[in-house]
Symmetry: C2
């Protein structure tokens, strides 16, 4: 399978997902669609619905009937709605000004509407899930949303915890990101009518992928070209992420104090960000985070070994590598 073919296939899947996302944003009230569209069509990578579709197709015959195909796409997008719902509430909770380089929804329509449209998208996601009439899927999704919502609260309570351990960090990113990506893959497998052990393998695949995804996200907050122009969001908010945790393990007392001080200072400047980055770099915070993400990607790929060898497996492997290499 050539990279060109793989990219072609991913592009065509993403096009269908994009169309499906539009089709189901069908509130009778223009305002609700307007705010929903603003957050849904704001340049997300669609990694979640894509994984659901690919995990389903991994087990299915190419000659699927159209109706079942539609069901798969319709179900896949519920994960994007769920994700968007959490972004809206996160932005209110964090008083965020921007999201993906644009004004945050709350900056345009206020906190009130943003909270309520978040609730709407959440309800919409659960509604799409219930259309399947499949108790197993509902079980996965309701367990996922419960874990996620507890995780959001734990993250809020941890906000000022500068002694966050690696294990605590993992618990946070597990609930914040990995649980949902894991559910995308598991529900895909259920839709593909995979056997129980295969569903479990894909559930774990998604979990490891999600952990790696969030570690890379947290790394890019310091190192991406975009943050090159500005300060990292996590740094500005004083959020302790893996690069900082690793750096604090090796840093001497002076470096440690400087790093924590800069993280906790409300008004930081570009030069403070550069100082923090130097301390993290010198104390292996970036390199060790990258290694950790690599380990998780390898664990994810291992989960695929016993699964059917076909085009869709190649796509899942490709995406795993892509998530590790991405620059934004």
């Amino acid at each position: 399978m050539s990279e060109v073919e793989i990219l072609e296939k991913i592009k065509s899947e993403l096009n269908i997902i994009e169309e499906t996302l539009k089709t189901y944003l069908d509130s009778q009230h223009p305002f609700i669609n307007q705010v929903s569209e603003y957050i849904i069509f704001s340049g997300g990578k669609r990694i979640r619905p894509l994984l659901t579709v690919l995990c389903a197709k991994l087990f299915l015959n190419e000659n699927l009937n159209n109706r079942y195909l539609e069901t798969i796409y319709r179900t896949s997008i519920l994960f994007e709605y769920l994700h968007a719902a959490t972004l809206l509430h996160d932005d209110v909770v964090d008083s965020a000004e921007f999201r993906r380089g644009r004004k945050a929804a709350r900056n345009l329509w206020g906190n009130q509407a943003t909270i309520l449209v978040g609730d709407y998208l959440y309800a919409k996601a659960l509604r799409l899930a219930s259309l399947l009439e499949n108790p197993r899927v509902m079980d996965v999704i309701t367990q996922t949303t419960l874990l996620m919502s507890e995780g959001e609260i734990l993250q809020l309570l941890n906000l000022d915890n500068t002694t966050l351990t690696e294990a605590e960090y993992e618990e946070v990113i597990y609930r914040k990101t990995a649980v949902l990506i894991s559910a995308c893959c598991e529900v895909g497998a259920i839709l593909g009518e995979a056997k129980p052990n295969e569903c479990l393998l894909l559930k774990n695949f998604g979990k490891y992928l999600g952990l790696a995804f969030q570690i890379i996200d947290d790394l890019l907050d310091y190192l991406s070209e975009e943050t090159g122009k500005d300060l990292g969001k996590d740094f500005k908010e004083g959020k302790i992420t893996l690069p900082v945790i690793y750096a604090l393990q090796l840093a001497d007392t002076e470096e440690k104090n400087t790093l924590l001080y800069l993280l906790k200072t409300p008004e930081v400047e570009k030069k403070d960000f550069e100082t923090a980055k130097k301390i993290i770099e010198k104390n292996q915070g970036f390199i060790k985070s990258k290694e950790k993400a690599e380990q998780y990607i390898n664990l994810a790929k291992d989960c695929l070994k016993e699964l059917p060898n076909n085009f869709y497996k190649d796509l899942l492997l490709f995406i795993s590598d892509y998530l590790l290499k991405r620059k934004k």
Copy 2:
């Protein structure tokens, strides 16, 4: 059936519901339970779970096995969690200071935690629903939450609409209150394995009951003994409710202007509230609202006519009358 027996039975059902509510607030994180308990155990009437239980028992043999009984109670409380979730988000959206005579949760733990615990209770409710593994119940509940969340947004958009018609008001209270109470009754009927037409009758029973319930609530905001000590919340917030809509229909221009002016003034005093009440009273706003609520209660009771005649029907009729007569 004597009133004493009826009250005894209601009290014993409410006790079991109260216990069940406690049992299932079982997050591993004390903070989540603390905030959840604060809103859940703040003097709610438990009308929603009570209706689910009674509507189920209307169709069931008295010698139910314990496991199925537990399932009914477990399912009934999900409506209280859902309701509590909306109260938490409402309080943030309305910047409410108080709720049921106590400080609002947001006043104790801040908006951030309040939004997220609202999300948690919502997720918890859906989780309890999914434990039933019953696609019909999931269908009712996800449709309900979707309608409710749209309704919340419509209410927000209508906030400054002083030309709200009776039909628009009904749409608001239908989504705000009646949809959920209707779902309580319908899910009860499904748990009672009622026939499809019986489920529909109870769905409608709940709808009419819910409409009446909210009209009485809006009436009590002006007339209850509690608001006798203070100003009504709706009046303070400038919310247009049925008594105002009716009064505006009959009021002369001067009364109309005064009433709208007082409703829209940010800092109102006790004497302004009394003036508004006099205008509403004089223009039949209260009496006509009460009549409207009565009409809905009668429609609700009509829905019960073709259903089994037993003790539980007596209880449902009693509750219908109680909701109309309640003073707080």
